[in-house]
């Protein structure tokens, strides 16, 4: 029922003033005649009132093609002369993912603090090689993490405001990435080391992601490819961490990163389901992105620093570090290819990743 019917029938709003005390005109439309749905009364669940709980009635309907291009909240009674904000992502399939509300709530519930939740006082003194290796890894991670904040920021103001839940989720991602940049920068400095080498391969990857021509391409490059690979590096974090401080840092970052990957995978799935023609556009981006990512993965600083940490020092980098690193790279590649399948964009026989070099048979990737 609209407020108009009920208000007119039951309440007396006829004698309200026509102007404010300073003479501004008043029309009381919000009280007398808004067409918005009234009385939906969502019920809080055990954890409070979530975005899923309030997706009720007309407020839960996300239009495939919103009629407005303003910042008016979806479900509000929008004036016809509301200005166009210049959005270019105006189809639901441009940005939506079926799990986006759930992911937003999860992100809010699982925030943590790089200042408070890492046991910084427990950092032990490390050997020179391990401290340098950890600082190098943290330098590279500080450099690459902010791309996953810059990229959504670049696109969010172009997204139609009716897709508010997707924009809200991307806001949490931006906060997550700020925290990741913070925690890795802090670790690089906290134990008497510092920030080490930054080289072109990292920047090449970041530029490729940032300059993607469409949001579909951007999210495929960032969420599916880039963050998918970084997620596996964070998973590896426990193995490379010399102390509980780094372990905690990687464990917490891993949980955040997995949410971002979950959004990207399901967004691409949704987009391809709605418009199969965009698959080729995504493939083209990944054809290029995988080549650049391979260059990043073979970065002479980051890769060797990881191998030193995996080996527990430079002494065993060849007999322990590199072999273990190769095993873990296999996992990165196969996890990524499995996610691509889930996203509806099979890369098994098109990928530019060096599967042969790692002895990966694309026909057995999905055999689990």
């Amino acid at each position: 029922m609209s407020i108009t019917d009920k208000a007119a029938a039951e309440y007396d709003y006829e004698h309200l003033p026509a102007t404010s005390p300073i003479g501004a005109p008043l029309d009381w439309k919000w009280l007398r005649g808004a067409k918005s749905e009234w009385g939906v009364h969502p019920k809080p669940g055990p954890r409070g009132l979530t975005m899923l709980d309030i997706a009720v009635g007309s407020y839960g309907d996300v239009p495939d093609n919103p009629p407005h291009r303003s910042m008016a909240p979806r479900g509000a009674d929008v004036d016809p002369d509301t200005p166009d904000m210049g959005y270019i992502l105006n189809k639901k399939s441009d940005v939506w993912a079926e799990n986006v509300r759930e992911l937003y709530e999860e992100a809010v519930a699982r925030q943590w603090s790089a200042t408070r939740d890492i046991p910084w006082t427990e950092l032990p003194e490390l050997s020179n090689d391990l401290e340098h290796a950890m600082c190098q890894v943290c330098t590279t991670l500080t450099e690459v993490e902010m791309i996953a904040a810059d990229l959504p920021a670049k696109w969010m103001w172009r997204m139609n405001h009716d897709f508010i839940e997707a924009k809200m989720f991307l806001c949490t991602q931006i906060m997550d990435e700020a925290r990741h940049a913070e925690v890795f920068r802090k670790r690089a400095l906290a134990n008497g080391g510092g920030l080490l080498m930054s080289r072109g391969q990292s920047e090449g990857l970041l530029r490729t992601i940032l300059e993607a021509k469409t949001y579909h391409q951007a999210t495929a490059l960032m969420h599916l490819l880039g963050e998918g690979f970084i997620l596996d590096i964070f998973r590896m974090g426990e193995l490379i961490s010399p102390s509980p401080v780094e372990k905690r840092m990687f464990r917490m970052a891993m949980q955040d990163e997995a949410r971002h990957v979950a959004y990207g995978t399901m967004h691409i799935r949704y987009a391809i389901d709605k418009d199969p023609d965009i698959a080729e556009e995504i493939h083209e981006a990944l054809d290029h992105g995988e080549v650049v990512l391979t260059q990043f993965g073979t970065n002479q600083d980051f890769g060797s620093a990881l191998a030193v940490l995996l080996a527990g020092g430079v002494e065993h980098v060849e007999d322990k570090g590199f072999p273990l690193q190769m095993e873990l790279q296999k996992k990165q590649f196969t996890s990524y290819l499995a996610r691509c399948e889930r996203a509806g964009i099979s890369r098994l026989h098109r990928t530019k990743l060096p599967l042969e070099l790692l002895g990966i048979d694309p026909d057995t990737v999905l055999a689990n």
């Binding site: 954890r47 709530e105 699982r110 464990r251 949980q255 979950a262 095993e327 996992k331 996610r339």
Partner: protein, 144 residues
């Protein structure tokens, strides 16, 4: 500790549910996980349902039904024993005995699942699952 029993995992659930503040720091988590223990005497599996800050169910299932969970962790009984022994010895999983490290190396325990999105919940809620498993150290103390 008899780890291949539903009562053991129910006790871990009770331990989790009795300490919501420990889990509130990590935030709510929603996942269904299964653990499969391969034994010479026959495989054994348990299904764990996590909702919010609680473990709402721990029940024995057939090992061939483990794939119905979001993800499942599959390994020889001895590997699970070693993991819980480490937890009890150190108060929480240490070194390469954390569930993430074990699953990453896949030498003993493998992370599996039908849907990569389900499998990724292992990473999304990893510390909730780890804290749940670490409860073994506390219930072992209580059990004396």
């Amino acid at each position: 500790m008899q780890i291949d029993t539903a009562s053991f995992f129910e006790a871990l659930a009770d331990e989790m549910n009795a300490h919501p503040d420990t889990f509130r720091v990590l935030g709510e988590g929603d996942m269904v996980a299964a653990l499969v223990m391969r034994r010479a005497s026959g495989d054994w599996a348990v299904r764990l349902c996590f909702e919010g800050l609680r473990c709402e169910g721990a029940s024995e299932v057939a090992a061939d039904e483990a794939h119905l969970a979001d993800f499942y962790l599959d390994g020889p009984f001895e590997a699970w024993q070693a993991m819980f022994a480490d937890i009890c010895e150190h108060g929480s999983a240490s070194g390469r005995q954390t569930i993430n490290s074990l699953a990453l190396l896949s030498t003993d325990i493998r992370l599996r699942g039908d849907d990569p999105m389900g499998v990724d919940k292992f990473s999304r809620f990893n510390q909730t699952l780890q804290e749940y498993l670490d409860g073994a150290a506390r219930i072992a103390v209580v059990a004396g």
